[in-house]
Amino acid sequence: MIVFKRLYLCLLFSVGIGVSPVQALTIEINGGQEGALPIAIVPFGFAGTGPSLINVAGIIAADLRLSGHFSPLPEKDIIAQPHAAADVHFEDWRLLGTENLVVGLVQPSGPGGYTVQFELFDVFKGIRLTGLSFTVDPNKNLRRVAHQIADIIYERLTGERGAFNTRVAYVVAGPHRGRYNNSYVLQVSDADGYSPQTILTSKDPILSPAWSPDGTRLAYVSFENRRPSVYVQDLRTSQREVVASYPGTNSAPAWSPDGRRLAVSLSRDGNPEIYILDLGSRSTQRLTNNVAIDTEPSWSPDGSSLVFTSDRGGSPQIYRMPSSGGREERITFEGTYNSRAQFSPDGRRLVLVHGNGSTNHIAILELGGGGLREITHTNLDESPSFSPNGTMVIYASEEGGKGVVRVVSMDGRTPQRLGLQENDVREPTWGPLNKKIEE
């Protein structure tokens, strides 16, 4: 009754006042807080007998955390264990403040095979964003499927492609205490450092592995023939060939974006200069010509220009020139040492080793202006390489006298050590994107 009375009163008032001159409701939001997106990844259910083969949810969580964009809820804080949309109570997850939720299930299918399914939800809107089911052959890598799921989640929530289902190449240095016959081992593993495969072992040093743009071949420098020579090896057939073994040094191979040419540093005509080597005709074209050392070339993604390291100005700095030859211009001016530059996949920035006298760190150079920005603060950082989606950087550094490999997000927030089992790892380089799975 009181309510009615009040309503009646209100009505009277509204009639009395009419539409009052209240301006349109506009609210400005100027604050907010920058932070990683909270997400809950519930441990996947396993419908088979015995324990689950791998912790799919754990792999997804580790991948997403590695990107620096996500903050997965710790497993101990996960309050419910739904495995499908029907079991999800959004209210529970809203209380925890997680914006997104992932649930999934692993089921045996066929002899030795599996079906892995997952679903991604928007907790506050209370809707399902995406979901997919994978069939995994018995001989296939179940970890790969977890990486693929992480890629899909990453892309759905950030709008950028994920780069978790990719590979990295690196060199392991001995002694190996009987694990390998030779001191130097060239390996390829998943981007998170698991499932390593040996590509080559040698008693002489192996350097500068470089992925072909299609991910089927590796170029590298090996000292096995007394002088450093450039080899190209097919990863599927293990067939390899020497592509540059001129007198002097043959080093720092870099693939052109079309995969048909290599930019290399050769000292056959005196001191190290940048050459372009055509892999089909084996002809070489000299690009630089001066008394200083020119090395470590890298192609812009459109193939139109190259950056390289040169000490012509007294200290190692990065220079840029058209890949067809022409004017060379210096592009780094900060610090006493800048080397090993590599283009980002969008061509807008470079990652490089930056030194300021005492120690070296990894830095990002914005090519459109904006200067140099250090993203690592570990010890003796070197050999940086962009993830193929341009959001992370893999690099080598030193810890306790041993080479370790780390991954850092572009804002330098989450440097994480890669879970490689090997002791002394160097020269990491991130491979290209794999074929995308359509949702």
């Binding site: 009040r6 309503l7 009163l9 209100c10 008032f13 509204s14 009395g16 006042i17 009052s20 001159p21 209240v22 349109a24 409701l25 506009t26 609210i27 400005e28 939001i29 100027n30 604050g31 907010g32 807080q33 920058e34 932070g35 990683a36 997106l37 909270p38 620096g68 964009h69 903050s71 809820l73 710790p74 804080d77 209380l95 925890l96 403040g97 914006e99 928007d122 506050f124 809107k125 929530l157 950030t158 709008g159 950028e160 007394r226 000490d311 007294g314 200290s315 006493t336 006298g357 959001t391 997000s409 572009m410 804002d411 927030r413």
Partner: protein, 533 residues
Amino acid sequence: MLRKLLDNVRAVALAVAVHLALLAMLTVNLDWSPKLQQEIGTPEVVEAVIVSEAKVQSEMKRLQKVDDDRAARLRREEQQIEEMRQARETEEKRLEDTQRRKEEEDRARRLAAEERRHAEEEKSRITEETRHATEERRQLEEETRRLREAEEQRAVETRRRTEEEKARLAEERRQIEETRHQVEEERTRITEEKRIRAEEVKRKIVEERKLAEERQKVEEEKDRLSEEKRVRVEEAKRKIVEERKLAEERKKVEEEKDRLTEEKRKTEVDARKKAILEETKRKAVEEKRKVDEEMRKKTEVDEKRKVEEEVKRKTEEKRLTEEKKKTEVEARKKAEAEEAKRKVAEDKRKADDESRKKSEEETKRKAEEKRLAEINARKKTEGEEAKRKASEEKRKASEEARHRADAENELKEQLDRETKGRTDAAAQGEQARQDQGVIDRYRAIIQDKVDRSWLRPVGIERNVACDVYVKLMPGGDVVNVTVKHCTSGDAAYARSVEAAVYKASPLPLPPDPRLADKFVREEINFKFKPRER
């Protein structure tokens, strides 16, 4: 094949020898077998003798049946036969002897031949062996020669390799030397560089100091900004308090007015009362005059006393009435004074209550703000656990804020009710002004809530603005969020803006449905734009 045979002469020879030996043994075997057959042949001869004996017996039987005479002849003949047999036997014996001798001789001869053959074989074997030995020696020599040659070759190779190695080493040394030279140059360059660098570093230090100062300035600016924000918040608070005070004052003025009216009314009543009293008095005097007149008219002297008495009585009565009236007025006046006093006390109590409530709220809010600030600070420094806790606390805080808002609303509602209930004559402009005040206040509350629930994605350019339209349910629940336009196409950013509004749901609304309706009736337009760093 042939080469292999040549290489293994010894083995081949041995194989040949074994074969020969086997052949020889076979041959000897073949030689012996006929001899065995000869020995078997002798009993055959004896058998032939037995067969002829049977014939003789059958013949003798037949002869006995025909003629006994012939017995003598036969006996003779028998004798003859016996003799012949003996002679034959002898002969046979002789023959046998001869045969045996001959055989003996034969065997001896054969043995001799065999032996000779053996000897010959032995000889050939020996010859063969000698040949073998020679061959072997030759091979050995060949091998030795070859080995020596190989050795020599190897030595030559090694020497060559050593030389090459030496050359390589020299080359390497040269390269190393070159490298060292380069390094040396590099070092001098580096030294030079270092010197320049040192200066640069000095410069940099100065710059850094400058930068630090700038940073400090920025920090100070930030502090200033936060101070400003605090001041602003304080201001807002103060404004609300002032508003409330104003309303209070307004109320007081109103009350004062009421009081004055009442007083006026009272004064009027008093005046009327006084007038009535005077009228009564006047009437009484008139009556007295009339009575006096009557008395004067009707009675004489004796009556005069009576009249006088009557007058006396009446005067007495009047006095009493007057006295009574006076007492009544006095009592009323006293009561009125008491009422006024009570009213003042009541007002004071109310005011006290008000200020107490206000101060309580103030303290609460201050504590709340302090706690929130602490939470924010802690949130920044602590990890995920803290974040979780913080979000939990945030939730609590927002709930508390809601409670607080509710309490405020109740107060406001009361005020509104009072305003409403007071008089219809209240100015419409005044009402609109108050409405706007409430709406502004709730706008600030909503802004604060959405602001706190907005989590911007990391590593994204800050100067992105988004225009968002939000539809609410009557209770303040967010039912639809439309991100109309963002200045950058970043999906994560758009998502964060959308999520911020959903996370803030339900949005706090004024308790007055009339005012809440203004938030529900139309879409609310949120303009997201982070402040520049």
